[in-house]
Amino acid sequence: MDFITQHPVLVVSLAKIVGLMFVLMTTLAYLSWFERKVIAHIQSRWGPYYVGAHGLLQPLADGVKFLFKEDLTPPGADRFVYILAPMLALTLAMTTLALIPFGPPSVQWLGESTLIVANSSIGLMVVFAITSMGVYGIALAGWSSNSKYPLLGGLRSSAQMISYEVALTLAVVGVVLLSGTLNFNEMIAHQSGAFWHWNIFYLGRGSFPQIIGFLCYFMAAVAETNRAPFDLPEGETELVGGFHTEYSSFKFAMFFMAEYANMITVSCLATILFFGGWLSPFPESWTFMRYLPPVGLLALAVYLAYDTVVLARGIARIQLIVVTTGALVIGLACLHPVVLAIIQGPFWFLLKVGLIMFFYVWTRATLPRLRYDQLMSFGWKFLLPVALANLMITALVKIWPLLVNRG
């Protein structure tokens, strides 16, 4: 116990990292379930529903499959780089989540704010630094496979990623201009109030609503994470495979997880920059809205109970009883005032991130794929000028009082 009180920073940081890793790995697995279900329902079919109740054990089955597949190395491949590439991709994709604030810094344990692992004063730039290193995972994967198609797929994919990085960064600078800081918590505090104070909507003194910025950011982010409709390097050569053709079993799973982790990172960034992060959309004076999380969870428990009673027999019923009990317990626990105060921030943050991920999956199910030259000309000739124009208009609006007072 002495050790804990003497080194609070170390202990709290370790606890935060372990908790975050646990939550992150579970979320990555269930994100694949979420994507398959949503795409299926858009396409008028059911998606995974057999493996568990509502297909909820499908990610577990996929994980077991990935672990038991044969793990081979292509002949003539550069062994060191071949093994390094997926590890690099996954590590970098997961590291950015250490900088994301999941809730207000006022939630503390042992004097350290609990809901953000690394509160850096240049948080936004560090996130961009780590995502710009993510290009290496794909380029090296393509190279080390010692085969023509993965090499071309890897080169195309990396060229696409570095092109859209420029538009991504420029789309975000408008928000930095409005907030005057690169620190995430301060940026969110700048947007406090109700939902009309968020950066995407706010039309006040010296502020320009960042709708164009958000749309540019979203399109650049979809291209940056190699998702549809920009997934030509891993889609068209899907007949052959793209940069991950020669990877099997767990290394392929690592690339898969890295892609989802990148999606999560980009959605979290969009929430923080444009939608107010962990802030509630309702004004602070509506204190009854603080009970929304437990009410929501209890409503979910009621729906699951209905499902348990009406649904078919057998093991699915037992699984649903477990999930219902879990939702009920957590919902009732949230009514306790201490837990209620802690859960406010993460609830709204995760809700907004979930909505943006739903848009991601919706885009994938709806839009056709872009050809490679269309993709590159879109990034350089449309997104970059539009992001620049947004930046210039935002800067003009921000310094307008200074210009008017001089003249």
Binding site: D78, F80, V81, L84, S120, S121, I122, M125, V126, F128, A129, I130, S132, M133, V135, Y136, A139, L140, G142, W143, L151, G154, L155, S158, A159, I162, L182
Partner: protein, 169 residues
Amino acid sequence: MTLPFIVFFVCAALAVLAALTLILAREPIHSALALVLVMVSLAVLYLLLGAEFIAAVQIIVYAGAIMVLFVFVIMLLNAGVEERTDYSKLAKYAGLPLGIFLLLALAYWMLESFIGKQIANGLGGTNASVSTRELSAQLFQKYLFPFEATSILILIAILGALVLAKKDE
């Protein structure tokens, strides 16, 4: 052995080992990856020296864009293994000892010079990190002309690279 010392020695050892790998590697791609490792460890050292913005710029621009360009070119040209010719051996037997002598001499002079001792004993200054606000104030007020000149330089570089890489029609 406080934490800053441990971080310094780990990053310094990583940087020197990676630089040695750059010299000793057979494949150019391994040299490129070693150089990326040097840059990343230098970025950590910049953080230790309190220059956080410069550390982020180093990773974004140097390790994340320039070295990606190097890796692209190595992959495109499929640059092969270094060959051993006679002239290379001459450079190795004459250049290498002189290079090592230069390295040791520079290091010794850095450590034992008057300025080196003065800085080791403390030349004043706080332990706080430089904020981005101060740095950008300097960049946009005192160094505005070089800033604009480098933007023109980058434009020239883009045009030059385009012209050079174009196929002759």
